[in-house]
């Protein structure tokens, strides 16, 4: 069947879609957007998280036909041209990426959190990311990155450009503007 939907602002008409196929498969294998990762295929790991009509979902559990006429935004659609989204910047700066497989899903899910909650508490961050598994277990750096992105966003400050060798460490409870570069080594 044909499925027509908007992905990252561009309309896509995809032919030959099998009726039982997932949105994730269509994105990766038919539209050429491999950012969303295919791991568990049962909604356990969150690596395939995308926005569907503005709501984060596991794209492996959305039937492709259900995306007909809908708006999809993937991790590839977060950056503004060549400029990374502040959440992406924060993940880079905090060393929140190890093998990188869980990163796209975490970034979309964290992006949604700080869109909705200006200053999420640690409990809120943990709850928001509860459905995203990092097999490298690099959760501390991931939490650092989300805190940093949230602090910058709520301070209305654009993310600093990436400076090689420079990292940012932030601890729980620090308010915006207090994050000091060079606090913690990248992991």
């Amino acid at each position: 069947m044909r499925v027509t939907f908007t992905v990252n602002g561009r309309e896509e008409a995809v032919d030959g879609v099998w009726e039982g196929e997932s949105l994730l498969y269509v994105l990766r294998e038919r539209v050429g957007l491999p950012g969303s990762k295919n791991a568990c295929e049962q909604g356990e790991c969150g690596s395939c998280t995308v926005y569907l009509d503005g709501t984060p979902v596991c794209s492996c559990l959305v039937a492709a036909g259900q995306a007909e006429g809908r708006q999809v935004r993937t991790v590839e659609g977060l950056a503004d041209g060549g400029r990374l989204d502040p959440v992406q910047e924060a993940f880079v700066e905090c060393g929140a990426v190890q093998c990188g497989f869980c990163t796209p899903g975490l970034i979309v899910q964290a992006h949604d959190l700080i869109e909705r909650v200006a200053r999420p508490s640690d409990a809120e961050i943990r709850e928001a990311l509860a459905g995203n598994l990092c097999r490298c277990t690099g959760y501390e750096k991931i939490l650092d990155a989300v805190r940093l992105a949230a602090a910058r966003k709520s301070a209305g400050r654009p993310a600093a450009g990436r400076t090689p060798g420079q990292t940012v460490g932030q601890t729980a409870g620090q308010t915006a503007g207090q994050g000091t570069p060079g606090g913690e080594a990248a992991g």
């Binding site: 099998w18 998280t49 596991c58 559990l61 959305v62 039937a63 036909g65 928001a128 459905g131």
Partner: protein, 287 residues
Amino acid sequence: MDFLRPTTWEEALAAKADQPEALPVQGGTDVMVEINFDVRRPPALLDLTRVAELREWTVEDGGGCRVGAGVTYTTVIEELGGALPGLAQASRTVGSPQIRNRGTVGGNLGAASPAGDSHPPLLAAGAEIEVESRDRGIRLIPAEEFYLGVKRSALLPDELIRAVRLRAAGGPQYFSKVGTRNAMVIAVCSFAIALHPEDRRVGTGVGSAAPTPLRALEAEEFLRGELDWDAPLDPALARRFGELCAGAASPIDDVRGTAGYRRHAIGVMARRTLAWAWNDHLGRRAA
């Protein structure tokens, strides 16, 4: 495989009547797992996400609530926590934010897994399931008659689940669930309680501890006879209630837990949730 996408309820009923073997799909959090893993190959998927009315809910002044089959767990949590606290508590324990954004109470009923988190609070609250077919119209099925076996329900092949009907909480409600972590957990076992002070009755729901979710009827009868609604909770009575709830379970050993553990945990959760609810009950009367 066909992919059917009705946009109105009438179209959906017609599609199900014409193709009774079509598998309804709402959030896909159960159905798509089975398809991804090749466990199920239905001849057709019946996508209900375009039927807007299924996403609606109403709470009437008189206390009657109707929750459309397409209402997500996220919506229950954000919008129905006041009227339906037991169902909202259970909804908070479902999967992850991404799963709660898609998964629906109607889908939980359609799957009819004994471990589904919606079932215990629906049983405790005395909910009815509104189902409909094109040819025979609407049936209201009491929750305790809806679950027939492991992943089997009273839904007939040409019927679709349209809504859940229940009363807004007239008293405290609690849900408790045992699992290995606080997210992404299929219940080892679960328990829901609802106090109905208006008719001096306590409703129960036991989850993941028998082939179907069920009410602990003997335990409910025991409280109906013994509970003094004006007095503090007698610890001996709470213990006996726990024992009777544990006795209502007929659990199995499986990868998530043993039968003995499940039976024990049901007793503990029943006793605790009764104590929590009773504290609230006495607190409300004092206030």
